[in-house]
Symmetry: C2
Subunit: 305 residues, 2 copies
Amino acid sequence: MDDPSPHFADALIERVRHLGHPLCVGLDPHLERIPEIFLPRPAEPGDPRCAAAVEDFLNAVVDRLQGRVALVKPQIALFEQLGWRGLKVLESVAARARGHGLIVLLDAKRGDIASSAEGYARAYLDPRSALAADALTVNPLLGLDTLDPYLRHVRESGRGIFVLVRTSNPGAEEFQDRPREAPLFERLAGALAEISAGCRGGRTGWSSLGVVVGANRPEQAQRVREILPHSLFLVPGFGAQGGGAGDALRGFVSGPRGREGGVVNSSRGVLFPAAGESGDAAAWEAAFDSALEAAVSQLGEAVSG
Amino acid sequence: MDDPSPHFADALIERVRHLGHPLCVGLDPHLERIPEIFLPRPAEPGDPRCAAAVEDFLNAVVDRLQGRVALVKPQIALFEQLGWRGLKVLESVAARARGHGLIVLLDAKRGDIASSAEGYARAYLDPRSALAADALTVNPLLGLDTLDPYLRHVRESGRGIFVLVRTSNPGAEEFQDRPREAPLFERLAGALAEISAGCRGGRTGWSSLGVVVGANRPEQAQRVREILPHSLFLVPGFGAQGGGAGDALRGFVSGPRGREGGVVNSSRGVLFPAAGESGDAAAWEAAFDSALEAAVSQLGEAVSG
């Protein structure tokens, strides 16, 4: 990728043509499958020796792949299970692979709203990041607009992305295949109903299988509540994203201490109050407390009102 | 959560009832928004000082939240943008929050097939993990079976999950709302067509916006190829998952050096050959090379055949 105007697909396909095959080798360090010459047993993910063994194993793998395949695909979940040490190993293995001329496609299946997607794009596609890969797998469920931060790096830094369209696992057909009469969110909710009911608590009756339901479409929140009477809602979009407390609580129901049935999230509105941008520590503390109290009292009133 | 039989929803809702409001505070450390008293400017995500500043800032935030909200929601993307140091900060901030009696809901929106989901579940819900949270957000697009590893911790360790059903971002309606006549995977592919065409390389004509298309449904691969003639395919499911080379290449087209149009991934089949499970380093190398060569030659033949 030292091309003056690099382009992921060009570089990859030229390499594939040169090698004569399109094999991509997945770097999935399942601990229970790593040869004992690299990782003596027993081995628990929390043991720091695991990270060192994964590094030794994958270094040996990558050395053997040099010049023989076009690309490798680390599965980040299996690095994350090792905690921060796992990400450090990923950084080092990816650098070694790229040093060998291998293209690195990071299989992370990230998908999130714009500002979080920006964080993922910075982490995994920005050339200045130590963890930057040549390409990244992304999940489109949240909408095409959420792909923009990745697409900027596709266009400006010659990176690539792979969007999930039809995955290969047994359950993929559940949502991805069949024609739908109902909107997908109702299908999703309906499909979760039985599992949700099976995860109810003995004391409150609420289920530990919750759902994310935005505050910006209160009528949809009510519909999801009808379908999933026991699931807690995690309601984003309160405060900074424009949703009011009343809308945020639309899927809530009467409980022993007012309306209940979920939690309402605020990130920017509390964490970064406008008044807290300058000044000393005391000013920040005051601004923070004030924003927090405002959010708490709005919701407290809406719950009891 | 010191209850002898802990249950996430019970513990959360009882705390919410006690406090009288359902506010969840998102811990989203956007670097450009962190007060200068914590992080002097300029600050780049790659600078190790950023991680220390995020830790100081969030420690101060968490200290102020004690006893005032039921839970906090760290957005992991903004930790990941700091690399492995970011995960280390997340570990420490989450521990401090839990020490204060705050429930920690990790917003990671993870979604992947079973073995990778197992890694995420180990990382973020297993009580033995240093990064374990009380609950996790998950993406259901890959199917309900992919939720099983998380659900095991819901049932056995008293953890919770929140499944994305209708998110709050502007683009969410694209896939989540409207009734569909065509299968979702065709809709997804169709919606990507124009962007894909805009990301084509000048030398090969292939696009850097690729798609994940499983090898187990060749007729669907052909349909996606019709809709997205320029997108590279990342084809999982070759080898260990039972797909043959012919099926894996079903969405490929004629190129100057045989059939082309994507890459075919093998993880277990190459990384963990059955013959490499015991023996010395030389035996492992031989088994590895043999599995690799088998995969390479199968695909090489399919490409040129």
